[in-house]
Protein backbone atom coordinates (compact mmCIF):
# COMPACT_ATOMS: atom_id res chain seq x y z
CA UNK A 1 0.00 0.00 0.00
CA UNK A 2 1.08 3.57 -0.63
CA UNK A 3 3.21 5.16 2.09
CA UNK A 4 1.48 7.57 4.43
CA UNK A 5 -1.98 5.94 4.44
CA UNK A 6 -3.34 4.12 7.50
CA UNK A 7 -5.30 0.85 7.72
CA UNK A 8 -8.46 1.64 9.73
CA UNK A 9 -10.77 -1.36 9.19
CA UNK A 10 -11.81 -4.18 6.86
CA UNK A 11 -10.76 -2.89 3.43
CA UNK A 12 -10.74 0.67 4.86
CA UNK A 13 -7.81 3.08 4.65
CA UNK A 14 -7.32 6.65 5.84
CA UNK A 15 -5.36 9.43 4.18
CA UNK A 16 -4.43 11.60 7.19
CA UNK A 17 -4.71 15.38 7.43
CA UNK A 18 -1.54 16.96 6.09
CA UNK A 19 -1.05 14.44 3.25
CA UNK A 20 -1.37 17.51 1.04
CA UNK A 21 -1.41 21.06 2.44
CA UNK A 22 -4.78 22.56 3.34
CA UNK A 23 -6.80 19.38 3.96
CA UNK A 24 -9.92 20.17 5.99
CA UNK A 25 -10.90 16.54 6.61
CA UNK A 26 -9.07 13.21 6.23
CA UNK A 27 -9.43 11.07 3.14
CA UNK A 28 -10.84 7.56 3.30
CA UNK A 29 -10.85 4.81 0.71
CA UNK A 30 -11.98 1.21 0.43
CA UNK A 31 -9.50 -1.24 -1.04
CA UNK A 32 -8.09 -4.75 -0.48
CA UNK A 33 -4.36 -5.24 0.09
CA UNK A 34 -4.01 -6.95 -3.30
CA UNK A 35 -5.83 -4.18 -5.21
CA UNK A 36 -3.55 -1.77 -3.35
CA UNK A 37 -0.64 -3.07 -5.45
CA UNK A 38 -2.04 -1.20 -8.45
CA UNK A 39 -3.00 1.97 -6.58
CA UNK A 40 -1.50 5.09 -8.14
CA UNK A 41 0.03 7.80 -5.99
CA UNK A 42 -1.68 10.39 -8.23
CA UNK A 43 -5.12 9.00 -7.33
CA UNK A 44 -4.47 9.36 -3.57
CA UNK A 45 -3.15 12.88 -4.12
CA UNK A 46 -6.37 13.74 -5.99
CA UNK A 47 -8.40 12.22 -3.12
CA UNK A 48 -6.45 14.43 -0.68
CA UNK A 49 -6.88 17.49 -2.93
CA UNK A 50 -10.68 17.12 -2.70
CA UNK A 51 -10.33 17.24 1.11
CA UNK A 52 -9.07 20.85 0.79
CA UNK A 53 -12.36 22.13 -0.69
CA UNK A 54 -14.53 24.40 1.49
CA UNK A 55 -17.52 22.90 3.30
CA UNK A 56 -16.49 19.26 2.81
CA UNK A 57 -18.20 16.99 5.32
CA UNK A 58 -16.56 14.16 7.25
CA UNK A 59 -14.19 12.63 4.63
CA UNK A 60 -13.06 12.83 1.05
CA UNK A 61 -13.97 9.29 -0.02
CA UNK A 62 -12.97 6.84 -2.74
CA UNK A 63 -14.39 3.49 -3.70
CA UNK A 64 -12.25 0.42 -4.61
CA UNK A 65 -12.32 1.21 -8.34
CA UNK A 66 -10.29 4.32 -7.47
CA UNK A 67 -7.88 5.45 -10.13
CA UNK A 68 -6.17 8.55 -11.38
CA UNK A 69 -8.58 10.92 -13.11
CA UNK A 70 -8.75 14.70 -13.30
CA UNK A 71 -10.02 16.90 -10.45
CA UNK A 72 -11.56 14.19 -8.24
CA UNK A 73 -10.10 10.70 -8.63
CA UNK A 74 -12.32 8.23 -10.46
CA UNK A 75 -14.30 6.48 -7.72
CA UNK A 76 -14.39 9.70 -5.69
CA UNK A 77 -17.28 10.73 -3.42
CA UNK A 78 -17.50 13.96 -1.43
CA UNK A 79 -20.36 15.71 0.32
CA UNK A 80 -20.56 19.45 0.99
CA UNK A 81 -22.59 21.57 3.37
CA UNK A 82 -25.18 23.69 1.54
CA UNK A 83 -24.24 26.73 3.66
CA UNK A 84 -20.48 26.70 3.36
CA UNK A 85 -19.79 24.16 0.68
CA UNK A 86 -18.96 24.27 -3.01
CA UNK A 87 -20.05 22.53 -6.17
CA UNK A 88 -17.43 21.53 -8.74
CA UNK A 89 -17.60 20.05 -12.26
CA UNK A 90 -14.33 18.32 -11.30
CA UNK A 91 -16.43 16.16 -8.96
CA UNK A 92 -18.82 15.15 -11.73
CA UNK A 93 -16.70 14.91 -14.88
CA UNK A 94 -17.26 15.67 -18.53
CA UNK A 95 -19.72 12.82 -19.04
CA UNK A 96 -22.48 14.04 -16.74
CA UNK A 97 -24.73 11.18 -15.59
CA UNK A 98 -22.72 8.57 -17.31
CA UNK A 99 -24.63 5.64 -15.90
CA UNK A 100 -25.84 2.13 -16.35
CA UNK A 101 -29.17 0.34 -16.50
CA UNK A 102 -30.17 -3.30 -16.51
CA UNK A 103 -33.11 -4.61 -18.46
CA UNK A 104 -34.51 -8.12 -17.88
CA UNK A 105 -36.06 -10.33 -20.55
CA UNK A 106 -38.16 -13.53 -20.51
CA UNK A 107 -35.44 -15.20 -22.64
CA UNK A 108 -33.09 -17.99 -21.51
CA UNK A 109 -29.46 -18.65 -22.40
CA UNK A 110 -30.31 -21.21 -25.11
CA UNK A 111 -32.42 -18.55 -26.92
CA UNK A 112 -29.52 -16.22 -27.62
CA UNK A 113 -26.34 -18.26 -27.25
CA UNK A 114 -24.21 -17.89 -30.39
CA UNK A 115 -26.83 -15.65 -32.06
CA UNK A 116 -24.52 -13.34 -33.99
CA UNK A 117 -27.58 -12.08 -35.90
CA UNK A 118 -28.94 -10.57 -32.67
CA UNK A 119 -25.68 -8.74 -31.95
CA UNK A 120 -25.49 -7.52 -35.56
CA UNK A 121 -29.09 -6.29 -35.43
CA UNK A 122 -28.52 -4.43 -32.14
CA UNK A 123 -25.31 -2.95 -33.58
CA UNK A 124 -27.26 -1.74 -36.60
CA UNK A 125 -30.17 -0.37 -34.54
CA UNK A 126 -28.25 1.49 -31.81
CA UNK A 127 -25.86 4.13 -33.24
CA UNK A 128 -22.41 3.69 -31.69
CA UNK A 129 -18.86 4.97 -31.89
CA UNK A 130 -17.28 8.21 -33.06
CA UNK A 131 -19.69 10.25 -35.22
CA UNK A 132 -22.67 7.99 -34.42
CA UNK A 133 -25.82 9.98 -35.22
CA UNK A 134 -29.34 9.47 -33.95
CA UNK A 135 -31.91 7.94 -36.27
CA UNK A 136 -34.63 9.73 -34.25
CA UNK A 137 -35.90 13.15 -35.15
CA UNK A 138 -35.46 15.16 -31.99
CA UNK A 139 -36.68 18.73 -32.41
CA UNK A 140 -35.34 21.63 -30.33
CA UNK A 141 -38.56 21.65 -28.23
CA UNK A 142 -38.11 17.88 -27.68
CA UNK A 143 -34.57 18.58 -26.52
CA UNK A 144 -35.84 21.11 -23.96
CA UNK A 145 -38.32 18.52 -22.68
CA UNK A 146 -35.56 15.88 -22.52
CA UNK A 147 -33.50 18.25 -20.37
CA UNK A 148 -36.44 19.04 -18.07
CA UNK A 149 -38.17 15.68 -17.77
CA UNK A 150 -35.44 13.15 -18.63
CA UNK A 151 -36.68 9.57 -18.96
CA UNK A 152 -40.23 10.86 -18.26
CA UNK A 153 -40.14 12.72 -21.58
CA UNK A 154 -39.03 9.56 -23.39
CA UNK A 155 -41.79 7.43 -21.83
CA UNK A 156 -44.44 10.10 -22.55
CA UNK A 157 -43.20 10.22 -26.16
CA UNK A 158 -43.73 6.45 -26.50
CA UNK A 159 -40.18 5.24 -25.86
CA UNK A 160 -40.93 3.06 -22.86
CA UNK A 161 -43.49 2.11 -20.24
CA UNK A 162 -44.54 4.02 -17.12
CA UNK A 163 -43.10 1.44 -14.72
CA UNK A 164 -39.61 2.08 -16.14
CA UNK A 165 -39.60 5.40 -14.32
CA UNK A 166 -39.89 4.15 -10.73
CA UNK A 167 -36.91 1.91 -11.50
CA UNK A 168 -34.66 4.88 -12.26
CA UNK A 169 -32.65 6.84 -9.72
CA UNK A 170 -34.61 10.06 -9.08
CA UNK A 171 -37.46 8.57 -11.15
CA UNK A 172 -35.44 9.40 -14.25
CA UNK A 173 -35.07 13.14 -13.80
CA UNK A 174 -33.57 15.73 -11.47
CA UNK A 175 -36.13 18.35 -10.54
CA UNK A 176 -33.95 21.49 -10.67
CA UNK A 177 -32.80 21.34 -14.27
CA UNK A 178 -32.27 24.76 -15.85
CA UNK A 179 -32.20 24.81 -19.67
CA UNK A 180 -31.24 28.51 -19.66
CA UNK A 181 -27.91 27.58 -18.10
CA UNK A 182 -27.22 25.18 -20.99
CA UNK A 183 -25.40 26.93 -23.84
CA UNK A 184 -26.59 27.00 -27.45
CA UNK A 185 -23.46 25.03 -28.31
CA UNK A 186 -24.39 22.24 -25.88
CA UNK A 187 -27.92 22.13 -27.29
CA UNK A 188 -26.54 21.94 -30.84
CA UNK A 189 -24.53 18.89 -29.82
CA UNK A 190 -27.50 17.32 -28.02
CA UNK A 191 -30.05 17.33 -30.86
CA UNK A 192 -28.39 14.77 -33.19
CA UNK A 193 -27.15 12.44 -30.45
CA UNK A 194 -30.31 11.35 -28.60
CA UNK A 195 -30.36 7.55 -28.48
CA UNK A 196 -26.67 7.08 -29.32
CA UNK A 197 -24.25 5.02 -27.25
CA UNK A 198 -21.01 6.97 -27.76
CA UNK A 199 -17.55 5.41 -27.56
CA UNK A 200 -14.78 4.71 -25.03
CA UNK A 201 -15.97 2.46 -22.24
CA UNK A 202 -19.65 2.73 -23.21
CA UNK A 203 -21.32 -0.50 -24.23
CA UNK A 204 -24.48 -2.50 -24.65
CA UNK A 205 -24.20 -6.08 -23.46
CA UNK A 206 -26.43 -9.15 -23.57
CA UNK A 207 -25.83 -11.09 -20.36
CA UNK A 208 -27.06 -14.17 -18.54
CA UNK A 209 -27.74 -14.33 -14.79
CA UNK A 210 -25.10 -16.92 -13.86
CA UNK A 211 -25.09 -16.84 -10.05
CA UNK A 212 -27.49 -15.71 -7.36
CA UNK A 213 -25.96 -14.63 -4.03
CA UNK A 214 -29.11 -13.30 -2.37
CA UNK A 215 -32.31 -15.07 -3.52
CA UNK A 216 -34.72 -12.72 -1.71
CA UNK A 217 -33.15 -9.58 -3.20
CA UNK A 218 -32.85 -11.19 -6.64
CA UNK A 219 -36.57 -12.03 -6.55
CA UNK A 220 -37.43 -8.46 -5.57
CA UNK A 221 -35.29 -7.14 -8.42
CA UNK A 222 -36.97 -9.53 -10.93
CA UNK A 223 -33.85 -11.66 -11.53
CA UNK A 224 -33.54 -15.45 -11.76
CA UNK A 225 -30.80 -17.90 -12.70
CA UNK A 226 -30.35 -18.44 -16.45
CA UNK A 227 -32.31 -15.30 -17.36
CA UNK A 228 -31.12 -13.10 -20.23
CA UNK A 229 -30.63 -9.42 -19.41
CA UNK A 230 -29.35 -6.39 -21.29
CA UNK A 231 -27.00 -3.84 -19.72
CA UNK A 232 -26.70 -0.36 -21.20
CA UNK A 233 -23.80 1.93 -20.23
CA UNK A 234 -23.71 5.49 -21.61
CA UNK A 235 -24.18 9.14 -20.63
CA UNK A 236 -25.12 12.63 -21.72
CA UNK A 237 -23.03 12.62 -24.92
CA UNK A 238 -21.76 15.88 -26.45
CA UNK A 239 -24.39 17.94 -24.60
CA UNK A 240 -23.00 16.98 -21.19
CA UNK A 241 -19.39 17.30 -22.36
CA UNK A 242 -20.07 20.85 -23.57
CA UNK A 243 -21.87 21.80 -20.33
CA UNK A 244 -18.83 20.69 -18.34
CA UNK A 245 -16.45 22.57 -20.66
CA UNK A 246 -18.56 25.77 -20.56
CA UNK A 247 -19.11 25.82 -16.81
CA UNK A 248 -15.55 24.86 -15.96
CA UNK A 249 -14.53 28.14 -17.58
CA UNK A 250 -17.24 30.13 -15.79
CA UNK A 251 -16.40 28.50 -12.47
CA UNK A 252 -12.73 29.21 -12.90
CA UNK A 253 -13.54 32.91 -12.69
CA UNK A 254 -15.90 32.23 -9.78
CA UNK A 255 -13.14 30.41 -7.87
CA UNK A 256 -11.13 33.64 -7.97
CA UNK A 257 -14.16 35.84 -7.29
CA UNK A 258 -15.01 33.92 -4.09
CA UNK A 259 -11.33 33.64 -3.05
CA UNK A 260 -11.31 29.85 -3.02
CA UNK A 261 -7.87 28.25 -3.08
CA UNK A 262 -7.72 25.08 -5.15
CA UNK A 263 -4.77 22.73 -5.69
CA UNK A 264 -5.80 21.72 -9.24
CA UNK A 265 -7.47 23.92 -11.88
CA UNK A 266 -9.83 21.07 -12.71
CA UNK A 267 -11.31 21.53 -9.21
CA UNK A 268 -12.69 24.97 -10.20
CA UNK A 269 -15.78 25.51 -8.08
CA UNK A 270 -18.18 28.01 -6.57
CA UNK A 271 -20.31 28.14 -3.44
CA UNK A 272 -23.43 26.02 -3.98
CA UNK A 273 -25.58 29.02 -3.10
CA UNK A 274 -23.80 31.42 -5.51
CA UNK A 275 -25.25 32.37 -8.89
CA UNK A 276 -22.42 30.52 -10.66
CA UNK A 277 -22.91 27.44 -8.48
CA UNK A 278 -26.67 27.40 -9.09
CA UNK A 279 -26.16 27.84 -12.84
CA UNK A 280 -23.78 24.89 -12.97
CA UNK A 281 -26.15 22.78 -10.87
CA UNK A 282 -29.08 23.62 -13.19
CA UNK A 283 -27.09 22.87 -16.35
CA UNK A 284 -25.66 19.69 -14.85
CA UNK A 285 -29.16 18.52 -13.85
CA UNK A 286 -30.40 19.24 -17.41
CA UNK A 287 -27.51 17.14 -18.78
CA UNK A 288 -28.24 14.36 -16.29
CA UNK A 289 -31.85 14.35 -17.49
CA UNK A 290 -30.70 14.18 -21.11
CA UNK A 291 -28.63 11.11 -20.15
CA UNK A 292 -31.61 9.39 -18.52
CA UNK A 293 -33.67 10.10 -21.64
CA UNK A 294 -30.81 8.79 -23.77
CA UNK A 295 -30.63 5.48 -21.91
CA UNK A 296 -34.43 5.25 -22.13
CA UNK A 297 -34.31 5.76 -25.93
CA UNK A 298 -31.70 3.01 -26.28
CA UNK A 299 -33.81 0.74 -24.05
CA UNK A 300 -36.74 1.27 -26.42
CA UNK A 301 -34.63 0.29 -29.44
CA UNK A 302 -33.34 -2.84 -27.66
CA UNK A 303 -36.87 -3.86 -26.70
CA UNK A 304 -38.06 -3.38 -30.27
CA UNK A 305 -35.24 -5.55 -31.63
CA UNK A 306 -35.80 -8.31 -29.06
CA UNK A 307 -39.61 -8.21 -29.42
CA UNK A 308 -39.36 -8.60 -33.19
CA UNK A 309 -36.61 -11.20 -33.27
CA UNK A 310 -37.93 -13.45 -30.49
CA UNK A 311 -41.66 -12.63 -30.75
CA UNK A 312 -41.84 -11.55 -27.13
CA UNK A 313 -43.92 -8.80 -25.61
CA UNK A 314 -42.37 -5.30 -25.44
CA UNK A 315 -43.70 -5.06 -21.88
CA UNK A 316 -42.16 -8.35 -20.81
CA UNK A 317 -38.73 -6.69 -20.42
CA UNK A 318 -38.89 -4.66 -17.19
CA UNK A 319 -36.05 -2.55 -15.91
CA UNK A 320 -34.17 -3.68 -12.79
CA UNK A 321 -32.80 -0.19 -12.19
CA UNK A 322 -30.94 2.74 -13.73
CA UNK A 323 -28.09 4.35 -11.79
CA UNK A 324 -26.04 7.50 -12.41
CA UNK A 325 -22.35 7.38 -11.64
CA UNK A 326 -21.16 10.91 -12.54
CA UNK A 327 -23.37 13.44 -10.80
CA UNK A 328 -23.79 15.93 -7.94
CA UNK A 329 -27.08 15.86 -6.04
CA UNK A 330 -28.78 17.47 -3.10
CA UNK A 331 -29.64 14.59 -0.78
CA UNK A 332 -30.84 14.25 2.79
CA UNK A 333 -28.40 12.42 5.06
CA UNK A 334 -27.83 12.09 8.78
CA UNK A 335 -24.88 14.23 9.84
CA UNK A 336 -23.88 14.27 13.53
CA UNK A 337 -27.29 12.93 14.50
CA UNK A 338 -29.27 15.47 12.47
CA UNK A 339 -31.04 14.99 9.14
CA UNK A 340 -29.82 17.60 6.71
CA UNK A 341 -29.60 18.34 3.01
CA UNK A 342 -26.08 18.18 1.58
CA UNK A 343 -24.56 18.21 -1.90
CA UNK A 344 -23.09 14.78 -2.69
CA UNK A 345 -20.65 14.56 -5.62
CA UNK A 346 -20.14 11.09 -7.10
CA UNK A 347 -17.52 10.81 -9.81
CA UNK A 348 -17.30 7.23 -10.94
CA UNK A 349 -19.31 6.07 -7.95
CA UNK A 350 -22.83 4.70 -7.60
CA UNK A 351 -25.58 5.74 -5.23
CA UNK A 352 -26.31 2.77 -2.96
CA UNK A 353 -29.18 3.81 -0.68
CA UNK A 354 -30.03 1.32 2.03
CA UNK A 355 -33.39 -0.17 3.03
CA UNK A 356 -36.29 2.15 3.91
CA UNK A 357 -34.95 5.10 1.98
CA UNK A 358 -37.69 7.51 0.89
CA UNK A 359 -36.14 7.50 -2.59
CA UNK A 360 -36.96 3.85 -3.20
CA UNK A 361 -40.18 2.48 -4.70
CA UNK A 362 -42.31 0.59 -2.15
CA UNK A 363 -41.42 -2.86 -3.51
CA UNK A 364 -37.69 -2.24 -3.01
CA UNK A 365 -37.84 -0.53 0.40
CA UNK A 366 -37.20 -3.73 2.35
CA UNK A 367 -34.12 -4.67 0.31
CA UNK A 368 -32.40 -1.40 -0.55
CA UNK A 369 -31.55 0.24 -3.86
CA UNK A 370 -30.40 -2.00 -6.71
CA UNK A 371 -26.78 -1.20 -7.59
CA UNK A 372 -25.62 -2.16 -11.09
CA UNK A 373 -21.86 -2.67 -11.47
CA UNK A 374 -20.64 -3.29 -15.01
CA UNK A 375 -17.59 -5.50 -15.46
CA UNK A 376 -15.01 -4.94 -18.16
CA UNK A 377 -15.62 -6.40 -21.60
CA UNK A 378 -15.80 -10.19 -21.32
CA UNK A 379 -15.94 -10.32 -17.52
CA UNK A 380 -18.80 -10.56 -15.03
CA UNK A 381 -21.05 -7.69 -14.11
CA UNK A 382 -22.85 -7.62 -10.78
CA UNK A 383 -26.08 -6.55 -9.14
CA UNK A 384 -25.80 -5.53 -5.51
CA UNK A 385 -28.06 -3.69 -3.10
CA UNK A 386 -27.47 -0.58 -1.02
CA UNK A 387 -27.04 -0.83 2.76
CA UNK A 388 -27.42 1.02 6.03
CA UNK A 389 -23.62 0.92 6.38
CA UNK A 390 -23.30 2.83 3.08
CA UNK A 391 -25.67 5.47 4.48
CA UNK A 392 -23.43 5.79 7.55
CA UNK A 393 -20.00 5.61 5.93
CA UNK A 394 -20.18 6.76 2.30
CA UNK A 395 -23.24 9.02 2.01
CA UNK A 396 -25.00 6.03 0.44
CA UNK A 397 -22.36 5.31 -2.22
CA UNK A 398 -20.40 2.37 -3.61
CA UNK A 399 -18.15 1.51 -6.55
CA UNK A 400 -19.16 1.96 -10.20
CA UNK A 401 -17.11 -0.57 -12.13
CA UNK A 402 -13.88 -2.44 -12.28
CA UNK A 403 -11.46 0.50 -12.65
CA UNK A 404 -8.61 0.55 -15.14
CA UNK A 405 -5.10 -0.65 -14.32
CA UNK A 406 -3.49 -0.50 -17.77
CA UNK A 407 -3.18 2.59 -19.96
CA UNK A 408 -4.49 2.66 -23.51
CA UNK A 409 -0.94 2.95 -24.85
CA UNK A 410 0.09 -0.23 -22.99
CA UNK A 411 -3.13 -1.99 -24.04
CA UNK A 412 -2.53 -1.30 -27.73
CA UNK A 413 1.09 -2.48 -27.51
CA UNK A 414 0.30 -5.76 -25.80
CA UNK A 415 -3.09 -6.79 -27.21
CA UNK A 416 -4.61 -6.76 -30.68
CA UNK A 417 -8.34 -6.26 -31.18
CA UNK A 418 -8.42 -9.35 -33.41
CA UNK A 419 -6.84 -11.60 -30.76
CA UNK A 420 -9.15 -10.32 -28.05
CA UNK A 421 -12.23 -10.87 -30.23
CA UNK A 422 -11.08 -14.43 -31.03
CA UNK A 423 -10.33 -15.19 -27.35
CA UNK A 424 -13.72 -13.92 -26.26
CA UNK A 425 -15.47 -15.88 -29.01
CA UNK A 426 -13.80 -19.06 -27.72
CA UNK A 427 -15.33 -18.21 -24.34
CA UNK A 428 -18.75 -17.93 -26.02
CA UNK A 429 -18.83 -14.09 -26.13
CA UNK A 430 -19.54 -12.26 -29.39
CA UNK A 431 -17.98 -8.78 -29.63
CA UNK A 432 -18.94 -6.15 -32.20
CA UNK A 433 -17.38 -2.68 -32.60
CA UNK A 434 -16.59 -0.19 -35.34
CA UNK A 435 -12.86 -0.72 -34.96
CA UNK A 436 -10.32 -3.16 -33.56
CA UNK A 437 -8.68 -0.28 -31.68
CA UNK A 438 -11.87 0.23 -29.68
CA UNK A 439 -11.75 -3.43 -28.64
CA UNK A 440 -8.04 -3.32 -27.73
CA UNK A 441 -8.63 -0.18 -25.62
CA UNK A 442 -11.21 -1.93 -23.47
CA UNK A 443 -9.79 -5.46 -23.27
CA UNK A 444 -10.57 -7.35 -20.04
CA UNK A 445 -6.88 -7.29 -19.09
CA UNK A 446 -6.77 -3.49 -18.79
CA UNK A 447 -9.18 -3.48 -15.84
CA UNK A 448 -9.04 -4.65 -12.26
CA UNK A 449 -10.95 -7.86 -11.65
CA UNK A 450 -14.60 -6.87 -11.22
CA UNK A 451 -14.95 -9.84 -8.82
CA UNK A 452 -12.28 -8.42 -6.55
CA UNK A 453 -13.72 -4.89 -6.64
CA UNK A 454 -17.26 -5.98 -5.70
CA UNK A 455 -15.88 -8.28 -3.00
CA UNK A 456 -14.27 -5.24 -1.36
CA UNK A 457 -17.56 -3.32 -1.16
CA UNK A 458 -19.42 -6.49 -0.11
CA UNK A 459 -16.97 -7.21 2.72
CA UNK A 460 -16.88 -3.55 3.77
CA UNK A 461 -20.70 -3.71 3.83
CA UNK A 462 -21.27 -0.58 1.70
CA UNK A 463 -23.31 -2.74 -0.67
CA UNK A 464 -24.09 -6.45 -0.75
CA UNK A 465 -23.95 -8.93 -3.60
CA UNK A 466 -27.22 -10.05 -5.18
CA UNK A 467 -26.38 -11.63 -8.56
CA UNK A 468 -23.63 -12.21 -11.10
CA UNK A 469 -24.21 -11.59 -14.81
CA UNK A 470 -21.97 -13.18 -17.44
CA UNK A 471 -21.58 -11.63 -20.89
CA UNK A 472 -22.77 -13.39 -24.07
CA UNK A 473 -22.65 -10.55 -26.61
CA UNK A 474 -21.07 -7.10 -26.44
CA UNK A 475 -21.56 -4.00 -28.56
CA UNK A 476 -18.61 -1.72 -27.90
CA UNK A 477 -19.10 1.97 -28.29
Amino acid sequence: MIEGVRHTGVNEWEVPLGYVPGMRVPGKFFLSESLGNNLEHGAIEQLANVATLPGIIRHSLAMPDIHWGYGFPIGGVAAFSLDEGIISPGGVGFDINCGVRLLTTPLARKDISGRRDLIEELFRAVPTGVGGKSTLRISPPDLERMMIKGANWAVDAGYGVKCDLIRCEDSGYMKKADCHAVSTKAKQRGVPQGGTLGSGNHFLEMQVVSEIFDPEAARAFGLHLGQICCMIHCGSRGLGHQVCTDHLKLLESATKKYHITIPDRQLACAPITSMEGKDYFGAMAASANYAWANRQLITHTVRQVLAKMFRIDYESMPLVYDVAHNVAKIEEHEIDGKRMNICVHRKGATRAFGPNSDELPYDLKKIGQPVIIPGSMGTSSFVLHGTKIAMEKTFGSTCHGAGRIMSRTQAKKSLSGKEITANLLRAGIIVRAHSENAIADEAPEVYKSSDEVVNVVHEAGISRLVARLSPLGVIKG
Binding site: G93, F94, L248, D264, T409, S435, A438
Partner: protein, 135 residues
Amino acid sequence: MSFEEISHTADVKIRARALTLDALFTEAFLALMQIVYGTDRNDGIIKEIRIESDNIESLLCDFLSEVLFIAEVDGLVFSRAEITIEDLHLTAFLSGEPFDPLRHSSGTEVKGISYSGLVIQKNANGYMLDILFDV
Protein backbone atom coordinates in the same frame (compact mmCIF):
# COMPACT_ATOMS: atom_id res chain seq x y z
CA MET B 1 8.22 18.92 -33.87
CA SER B 2 6.35 15.89 -32.56
CA PHE B 3 3.73 14.55 -30.21
CA GLU B 4 3.50 11.25 -28.39
CA GLU B 5 0.94 9.51 -26.24
CA ILE B 6 2.33 8.80 -22.80
CA SER B 7 1.03 6.25 -20.37
CA HIS B 8 -2.04 7.31 -18.36
CA THR B 9 -4.39 4.77 -16.79
CA ALA B 10 -7.78 6.27 -17.47
CA ASP B 11 -7.39 8.90 -20.14
CA VAL B 12 -5.11 9.97 -22.98
CA LYS B 13 -2.06 12.00 -22.02
CA ILE B 14 -0.15 13.76 -24.79
CA ARG B 15 3.36 15.19 -24.69
CA ALA B 16 4.30 17.52 -27.53
CA ARG B 17 7.41 19.50 -28.42
CA ALA B 18 7.88 22.34 -30.90
CA LEU B 19 10.10 25.28 -31.66
CA THR B 20 7.36 27.88 -31.39
CA LEU B 21 4.12 28.26 -29.46
CA ASP B 22 2.14 28.27 -32.73
CA ALA B 23 3.70 24.93 -33.67
CA LEU B 24 3.13 23.53 -30.17
CA PHE B 25 -0.60 24.28 -30.40
CA THR B 26 -0.62 22.68 -33.87
CA GLU B 27 0.87 19.48 -32.41
CA ALA B 28 -1.81 19.37 -29.69
CA PHE B 29 -4.47 19.87 -32.37
CA LEU B 30 -3.02 17.07 -34.55
CA ALA B 31 -2.86 14.73 -31.55
CA LEU B 32 -6.51 15.45 -30.74
CA MET B 33 -7.66 14.75 -34.30
CA GLN B 34 -5.63 11.53 -34.47
CA ILE B 35 -7.08 10.22 -31.21
CA VAL B 36 -10.67 10.91 -32.26
CA TYR B 37 -10.57 10.10 -35.98
CA GLY B 38 -7.40 8.06 -36.66
CA THR B 39 -4.67 8.84 -39.17
CA ASP B 40 -6.55 8.74 -42.52
CA ARG B 41 -7.55 12.42 -42.82
CA ASN B 42 -7.54 14.82 -45.79
CA ASP B 43 -7.79 18.59 -46.14
CA GLY B 44 -9.99 20.78 -48.35
CA ILE B 45 -12.70 22.50 -46.33
CA ILE B 46 -11.37 25.53 -44.42
CA LYS B 47 -12.73 26.74 -41.05
CA GLU B 48 -11.47 29.77 -39.21
CA ILE B 49 -11.37 29.92 -35.40
CA ARG B 50 -10.58 32.98 -33.29
CA ILE B 51 -10.10 32.60 -29.54
CA GLU B 52 -8.86 34.85 -26.77
CA SER B 53 -8.23 33.80 -23.19
CA ASP B 54 -6.72 35.03 -19.93
CA ASN B 55 -3.67 32.79 -19.95
CA ILE B 56 -1.84 30.41 -22.27
CA GLU B 57 -3.21 27.20 -20.66
CA SER B 58 -6.80 28.43 -21.02
CA LEU B 59 -6.08 29.49 -24.60
CA LEU B 60 -5.02 25.93 -25.45
CA CYS B 61 -8.01 24.32 -23.67
CA ASP B 62 -10.45 26.79 -25.23
CA PHE B 63 -8.98 26.25 -28.70
CA LEU B 64 -9.08 22.44 -28.52
CA SER B 65 -12.59 22.51 -27.02
CA GLU B 66 -13.71 24.69 -29.93
CA VAL B 67 -12.13 22.25 -32.40
CA LEU B 68 -14.06 19.38 -30.79
CA PHE B 69 -17.28 21.39 -31.01
CA ILE B 70 -16.89 22.36 -34.68
CA ALA B 71 -15.78 18.88 -35.73
CA GLU B 72 -18.81 17.30 -34.06
CA VAL B 73 -21.48 19.81 -35.04
CA ASP B 74 -20.29 20.41 -38.62
CA GLY B 75 -19.34 16.76 -39.15
CA LEU B 76 -15.78 17.66 -40.17
CA VAL B 77 -12.50 15.84 -39.65
CA PHE B 78 -9.44 18.11 -39.76
CA SER B 79 -5.97 17.21 -40.95
CA ARG B 80 -4.09 20.54 -40.93
CA ALA B 81 -4.03 23.81 -39.04
CA GLU B 82 -2.30 27.13 -39.53
CA ILE B 83 -2.18 28.76 -36.12
CA THR B 84 -1.05 32.22 -35.11
CA ILE B 85 -0.88 33.29 -31.47
CA GLU B 86 -0.32 36.90 -30.49
CA ASP B 87 -0.83 38.20 -26.94
CA LEU B 88 -3.26 35.45 -25.92
CA HIS B 89 -5.26 35.87 -29.14
CA LEU B 90 -5.33 32.79 -31.36
CA THR B 91 -6.32 32.61 -35.01
CA ALA B 92 -6.47 29.21 -36.66
CA PHE B 93 -7.31 28.13 -40.18
CA LEU B 94 -8.27 24.47 -40.02
CA SER B 95 -8.42 22.34 -43.13
CA GLY B 96 -10.43 19.14 -43.27
CA GLU B 97 -13.05 16.96 -44.94
CA PRO B 98 -16.55 15.64 -44.14
CA PHE B 99 -16.70 12.80 -41.59
CA ASP B 100 -16.64 9.43 -43.37
CA PRO B 101 -17.70 6.56 -41.06
CA LEU B 102 -15.69 4.06 -43.10
CA ARG B 103 -12.40 5.96 -42.71
CA HIS B 104 -12.83 7.94 -39.51
CA SER B 105 -14.18 5.42 -36.98
CA SER B 106 -10.95 3.92 -35.68
CA GLY B 107 -10.51 6.43 -32.86
CA THR B 108 -12.30 7.26 -29.65
CA GLU B 109 -14.37 10.30 -28.69
CA VAL B 110 -12.67 12.88 -26.51
CA LYS B 111 -15.19 14.13 -23.95
CA GLY B 112 -13.20 17.09 -22.78
CA ILE B 113 -9.86 18.82 -22.44
CA SER B 114 -8.63 18.66 -18.86
CA TYR B 115 -6.71 21.25 -16.88
CA SER B 116 -5.36 18.52 -14.58
CA GLY B 117 -1.65 18.04 -15.23
CA LEU B 118 -1.66 20.62 -18.04
CA VAL B 119 1.86 21.99 -18.46
CA ILE B 120 3.17 24.39 -21.12
CA GLN B 121 6.87 25.15 -20.75
CA LYS B 122 9.48 27.10 -22.64
CA ASN B 123 12.93 25.51 -22.59
CA ALA B 124 16.25 25.82 -24.42
CA ASN B 125 14.95 23.79 -27.38
CA GLY B 126 11.63 25.59 -27.74
CA TYR B 127 8.36 24.58 -26.08
CA MET B 128 6.84 21.43 -24.61
CA LEU B 129 3.41 20.56 -23.27
CA ASP B 130 1.63 17.79 -21.39
CA ILE B 131 -2.13 17.65 -21.74
CA LEU B 132 -4.85 15.19 -20.73
CA PHE B 133 -7.85 14.36 -22.88
CA ASP B 134 -10.82 12.72 -21.15
CA VAL B 135 -11.94 9.75 -23.26
